[in-house]
Every structure is written in C-alpha cells, then in structure tokens.
Amino acid sequence: MTPKTPIIELKNLTKYYGSYPGIMDINLGINEGEIFGFLGPNGAGKSTTIRLIIGLIKPTQGEISIFGKVKRAHHLEIFKEIGYLPGDIGLYKDLNGNDYLNHLLKLRMGKNYRKNNDTLMNLQKRFSIRFDKKINTYSKGMRQITGIIQAFMHNPRLLILDEPTTGLDPMMQEEFFNLILEEKKNGKTIFLSSHILSEIEKVCDRVGIIKKGKLIHVEEMTSYRTMPGKNIKIEPLESPEKTLKIINNFVEPGKVAVRNGRIEFYYKGEIQKLIEQLSQVKIKDFICETPRIEDVFFRYYKDK
C-alpha cells in the first residue's frame, strides 16, 4: 500500500534572520484530515514556520510542499485551497466588515464568488458581530472574528491558523472550537499554532513542540492522555531531606523538584510500594493525580 503524501511536508526547513536562527532543520509532515497543534512559547519559531509555509518569508534552506506540490511552481492552485489566519491580524480599516469579506471572497473565488455566499452568511450569523460597521471601530475580538471568517468562508481544504483565539471571549472561543471540530468531520486538515495548552488539548490529534527554533518532539494526543504514571506531590511535616532520601530510591534525583516545602515528581512505578516506603516519614499532604497536558509539556520543555 502506497503511503499517503502528507498535506504539508517540511524537509530540513531552516530560516536565519541574518546570523540569528529563526528555525533550524525542521522535518514535519501533516496528514490529511488531522488537526495538528504546533506548541511552543513566545519566540520559539511557530510564526516563522507558518510564515514560511504561506510564503511570506523565504527559507534559508529546505523544502516545503503543500498538497504534494512544491509551492513556487503551483502557487495559484495551492492557495485556492488554503485558509490562513495570521497571528497579528490587520484588516482594511476604511471598509466595513461586509465590504471587506466580499472583497476577499471575490479575490479568492473570482467569477464563482457567489457560490460561497451562503457559507459566508452562515459564518457571519454564527459569530454575529456588526459587519455593517467600519473595521476601524472594531474591537480586537471583532477583528479576530473577521479574520477567522475570511479563513473559513471559501471551504478550504487546508486551514493554517496562527494563535486563532487571541482576543476572543470564552463564548466565541467555544464557538470557534466547535467550528474546528465540524471542519475536521468534513475531512479538512488544520494546522494550528498556539502557546495556550488547553486550546491544543481540546481539539488536536497530534502535537509538535518547538523550542528555540527546533522541533523537539511530535506525539499523538492519545499517548499524552494515556501516559503511564502519576504526578505526585508530598508535603512532609518535618524537613524534606528524609523524605527525599526515600524518594531517590524510586526516582532520579534530577527529576524531583522541591517548591515551597513541597516535593513534586512524576512517578511511573507501583503506588503501593511508594506509599509503603513513605510510611517511615510523617506527611502532612499527599496528592496523586493524572498528568495534565501542561505537566507533560513543561517536562519536555525542561528536559530537552
């Protein structure tokens, strides 16, 4: 069986800004129909990667293909099927929302723009802001909603969204995530970048973690959720040294953190054995919980 060509394929992708590295040697494939979360703190290289994919900046090295085609040679074909939401959105302030969206729809669809009028109207109803007002009167959230609508209104095959929930209130965020999940059911591919872990956890199938320009880890979300082990937090009544001595029999010393008198570590072994050993010391509080995505992320981020 021939393996499917990824929708987006990045090979050895590198970008230097002068001598300063933006991203280095990124190899990544995004498959059709998946929601891929691109995770990393501010300045990690998420937006640089996205801007390279869109073609706003040129790579120093490496290759980008979208829908199995090299971008440069098939620019027009490729971009008919992409919806893009930039991280820092700018809209034409002298137009109202309706005029702006209609202008973009005509740019995208050409003579066939009327075919997508219903999709546009449905999206406008869904997010219900005043599209007859001039964009220069819009709040940050309203501008973001307009940006989201322009990305989705032509039913693109691939959506590339850079920090999409910036400025959205909780209700709009919920509506946005519902939209994402509906698009996924319709077979769309979504490449979504964020530094908000809960966003990624909600909708993504796979996650890639980027740190200082390097892709340090890619993992299925299901494996995050079913990772063996627990987060353990112990607050001893006495000084922590005695407790630490016991814990070091189970966990490497470097993997144990002491914060405000509380000992914290990730433990994959049998809980019963740990409790039996800890009975030698006096404990004020003992917490044993399933890791959250934040815990997993910070662990990779500190380790790598």
Partner: protein
C-alpha cells in the same frame, strides 16, 4: 476577475485623496492662469534683468512668462507646481501599493490568497496610472478653460503635449516611490525620500549642470533633463525622444521594484 477586483478596491480606497488633490490643483491653476499680467515686452525685460540668474534658472525667465500666456503657464504651473503636486500624489499612491499594507499588517492575509506578488503590484500600478491619467485629463481641461476665461486662444496641442510630459514625470515619481517603499516598507520615508531625490534632480538640471561641463554630460541620467515644458510651451517644440526616455525611466524602476518585491521577505 481577481485583477479587476484588486484594481476596483484600490481605486475605491484611494479616490478621495486623488479627488482632493485634483480639485485643489484645478483651483490653483484656474487662479494662476486668470491673473496673467500680460506685461509689455520692455517691462518684462526690465523685470528679467532685475532677477539674479539663479532665480531665472529655478523659477523660469519672466521675459517669456510675463508676455505670453503659454510662457506664463510654463512659469507658474508646469515648471514646478504641476510636478510637485502630482508627483507628491503619485508618490503617496505608490507607497500605498505595498508599504501601507505592510505597515498595517494587511499584507499577510492578501498574500495568502491565490494572487502572485507581481499581479498585486501590476494591478495596483495600473490603478495608479488610471488615476494619474484622469487627473491629467482634468488638468488639460482646466488649463483650456482658464486660458479661455483669460481671453486668449487655446492651443490644445500644446496643453496636451506639456500635460503628457507632466504625466510621465509624475509616473517617474510613482516608480521611484514604489521602489523605495518596497525596500523600506515605510510610507512616509518613501514619499519624503522620493521628493528629496526628485528635488535634487531638479536642482541638478536647473542649477548644478551649469557649474561645469562635466556635470552637463552626466545629466542624461536625470529625469528632469527630459522634462522640458519650456521647450513645449514657449518654443513649441515637443520631443517624442524625451517622452520615450521618461517612459524608460519609469519602466526601469517599476521592473526593479517587481523583481525586488518577489524576493523580499515580508517581516512583521
């Protein structure tokens, strides 16, 4: 359809500025034409003799300007005022093509659409050209009306020829401003830099070129060397070669801008 949409949108968003500049210039031209002094030749010679040579180089010789309506047109309008006003308009419009989009962050969405960078610039240059042509036609009409009101015969061919020269010079402003705005991604810098460069070229042609024969030999690179409103209006001599040279100047900077924009990173 995409090209048409780009043209219509740019036209809609920049028509107000163009209209304001055109109306102001139309009123100025009408006023200037109708206050033609029609001085006797002897008086005009006396005025000319009282002016220092540098003033005559920079502002035109009153011998022609004060005795003949077309000389007056040259002195008051086409020598400086016309190209300054419409060159400025052209420079501002050119800066809106790319630099304004980058400054306002609107270019990110635009370039994610199925349009190439070249088609974006070309369609907008077409729009700027359309605006400048409409403005030029308006000025031709206003000049003719002004001369009629002043009670002099209208030689449309002279007005059309000098307006064509003015149009081509304005388009050179457009192409230089476009190039600077793509290099710098800043509207204000590109407009002022263009005005500064063209101001220097004007001074070079009117003053500096007379300082040494070698400087005169270098003036072939100067667009003002080919902009000769005095020759057209006073000596009734129109050079197609000059128009072709100005067109070539415009095309040079325009093509350079296209090539540069296609390679340029759009950084935030």
């Amino acid at each position: 359809m995409t090209g048409k949409e780009l043209i219509l949108n740019f036209l809609k968003r920049n028509s107000k500025l163009s209209l304001i500049v055109t109306i102001i210039m139309a009123l100025i031209i009408l006023l200037l034409v109708t206050i033609f002094p029609n001085m006797p030749a002897d008086n005009a010679v006396n005025v000319s003799n009282s002016w220092p040579q540098i003033m005559k180089d920079l502002f035109g010789d009153p011998v022609y300007g004060f005795t003949d309506i077309y000389g007056w047109l040259y002195l008051q309008i086409f020598h400086i005022t016309y190209w300054l006003a419409f060159g400025l308009l052209g420079a501002i419009l050119a800066a809106h093509i790319v630099a304004k989009e980058v400054e306002e962050n609107t270019i990110d969405i635009l370039l994610s659409y199925p349009i190439t960078r070249s088609s974006l610039v070309i369609s907008r240059i077409i729009t700027v050209t359309i605006i400048m042509i409409i403005v030029t036609i308006g000025m031709i009409f206003i000049c003719a009306v002004g001369i009629l009101i002043a009670g002099y015969p209208v030689y449309m061919i002279l007005i059309i020829q000098v307006s064509l020269a003015g149009f081509l010079l304005s388009m050179i402003f457009v192409s230089i401003s476009l190039f600077i705005s793509i290099w710098a991604f800043q509207q204000t810098l590109s407009v002022f830099f263009t005005l500064g460069v063209m101001g220097f070229f004007f001074m070079y042609e009117e003053v500096l070129v007379k300082l040494h024969p070698f400087l005169d030999k270098l003036s072939f690179f100067n667009p003002f060397h080919y902009y000769q409103p005095g020759e057209i209006l006073i000596h009734k001599s129109f050079s197609i070669r000059n128009s072709i040279c100005m067109l070539a100047y415009f095309l040079f900077f325009f093509i350079l801008s296209l090539l540069f924009f296609n390679r340029r990173d759009i950084t935030q």
